[in-house]
Symmetry: C2
Subunit: 338 residues, 2 copies
């Protein structure tokens, strides 16, 4: 595997670091509209597929039964920053189903965002599972179990009906086999399966269009996308890439980050899905990659593309706030490949 | 540039992410004992050369004049975690020279270590420049200015005598030209110059042996190395790679990390210097690289090599603490290249 350098990190006029990666843009028929690097190498999508993992919550009727609106559904698809609104909404979702934070099996951690972690440190003794960036997704799993009258204990384990339902949705949407051989454990304890970027991009094109999903799953996908694009704060948090891109997109783009440099995205109006991974797992680079690919696919004349291009050139400053360098897309990301 | 993959990140049985890099092992004559990738590409050494940047502090007589022992000299070479001992010692160094924390021009930041940042958030309103990971280095610059009766204001700027002295030391020790063309600004506001890993490894072999430095600079280098190896907590902090490696080494290895995936190291008993950079700037990978290269150079039978090999295989756990994967050196790092 020898993927191209897609992002450069500059200090002064010198390229200090380089990030390689692969990216796929597909339509819902499986046609590759653009590609960089090897899109057939299996990668763990991690949290970038939470919108697919949330399908059972909506399809089962659980979301309706508990009166979940856009915010709750967005949080079920979130890797949130653990800001008070996120934590309180996760607890409220559980409460509606007669469950509690102690039922979450995702483990606890301080926010990944330092400003939020500092505020948390002053407000609480220790983070709970509701502070876990995945607490909304796990609340969704638990609420689905409760609605279907399933024993929720052990819902994170391979072989539990909750994870069987997630795998079924993943296989149907992406068209990729999810085998035990390619299964790892995510940070929040649920199974994650390595699949090709090609399949992930196809899956997000299908979510965006409903093509090949059938009417019920198509409706659920539309509802999930709409919820995330309407409430992007609940998908990530203050200053985060997903929140900023979807807020700028005003319903035109869906994006979702995953750990280890993964992004999945879609442009519903074009019927396209996007999946990419930075080889080395760096978020800072995958964020530049996804903003750039979205801008390239939208095209030069689109004002949203201009906003995304600006997001794809974050500045690096000194501790006193002066410019020292920044990130930029490489030459390989300067245009759609022919 | 197409450096080899040197570190792999596993989740379950699948390689999830890959880190490329280059590494050089040289003796003080400039003979390359081992190399991986392109060691002639200029890289910013960042904080990995703080031991060289501290030479003027010792050579000028400032360290003696202010009664600095191993801890103060180690802190002058540190990228510390901002633990209370670090912060207090930086302030005490300044105090000895009649200076204050407000004289530091490095800027402030919360600790990079989340556990330390949480403790800081509960103890203080905002971090000061003494909490900056570079505060010991900057205290050293300031004390040198004061001892030489120089105006210290603006000591971080290109062209200030403090930075001229640092550049002179860097050029003599590494043998590399430090030109304005290859100059960037470090996070703590001082100039940093891109130079080849070959030159950096040579420089650390010279520091380790004194070869080519003359008696006074050789003595200063020996004192600096000895201080860091004797007080490794003051070079980094609790649980940090430099602290753990030098504590395990008991005076046999010197190591120093730098931002964006750089490491410089030395094995004085073998007269060898090491310099490496992870292409993408990841610390997690540069730590595996340096521990592995040190172990390879020390050789199989050495108990220290076994400890370093264990450090080069950190585990990745779920939020509940169960094993989910880990990092490992790649095939390319399995032996010294022929």
């Amino acid at each position: 595997m020898n993927n191209p350098v897609l992002v450069e990190v500059l200090r002064g006029a010198v390229v200090e670091s380089r990030h390689r990666g692969a990216a796929a843009v597909l339509d819902a028929d499986g046609t590759v509209m653009a590609r960089w690097g090897d899109i057939d190498q299996p990668v763990f999508p991690r949290s970038a597929v939470k919108a697919i993992q949330a399908l059972p919550l909506v399809e089962s009727g659980a979301a309706d039964a508990y009166g979940f609106g856009d915010r709750e559904i967005a949080l079920a698809c979130a890797s949130h920053s653990g800001e008070p609104e996120h934590v309180q909404l996760a607890a409220a979702m559980l409460d509606k189903a007669g469950l509690a934070v102690d039922d979450l099996e995702c483990g606890a951690h301080w926010s990944f965002r330092q400003d939020v972690a500092v505020a948390q440190a002053r407000a609480i003794d220790q983070p709970t599972a509701a502070h876990n960036n995945c607490s909304g997704k796990h609340a969704g799993f638990l609420c689905t179990c409760r609605h279907l009258d399933r024993d929720h204990r052990g819902y994170v384990a391979l072989g539990h009906p909750a994870q069987d339902a997630v795998r079924e949705a993943m296989e149907v949407v992406t068209g990729a086999v999810h085998s035990v051989d390619s299964c790892g454990t995510d940070g929040c304890s649920i199974p994650t399966y390595a699949v090709p970027l090609r399949s992930l991009a196809l899956g997000f094109a299908r979510l965006a269009t409903g093509a090949g999903l059938g009417p019920e799953r198509g409706r659920a996908a539309r509802r999930i996308f709409s919820a995330c694009m309407t409430e992007p704060f609940y998908v990530a948090g203050t200053g985060r890439a997903d929140t900023r891109m979807m807020a700028a997109g005003k319903g035109r783009v869906f994006t979702k980050t995953g750990a280890e440099g993964v992004f999945c995205a879609a442009i519903p109006e074009l019927g396209l899905g996007i999946a990419l991974k930075c080889d080395d797992g760096a978020d800072r680079a995958s964020e530049v990659m996804v903003a750039t690919v979205l801008a390239l696919v939208l095209g030069e004349g689109d004002p949203l593309a201009q906003e995304l291009r600006a997001m794809a050139r974050p500045t690096i400053t000194t501790r006193l706030g002066f410019d020292a360098g920044g990130l930029r897309p490489s030459e390989a990301l300067s245009a759609l490949p022919r």
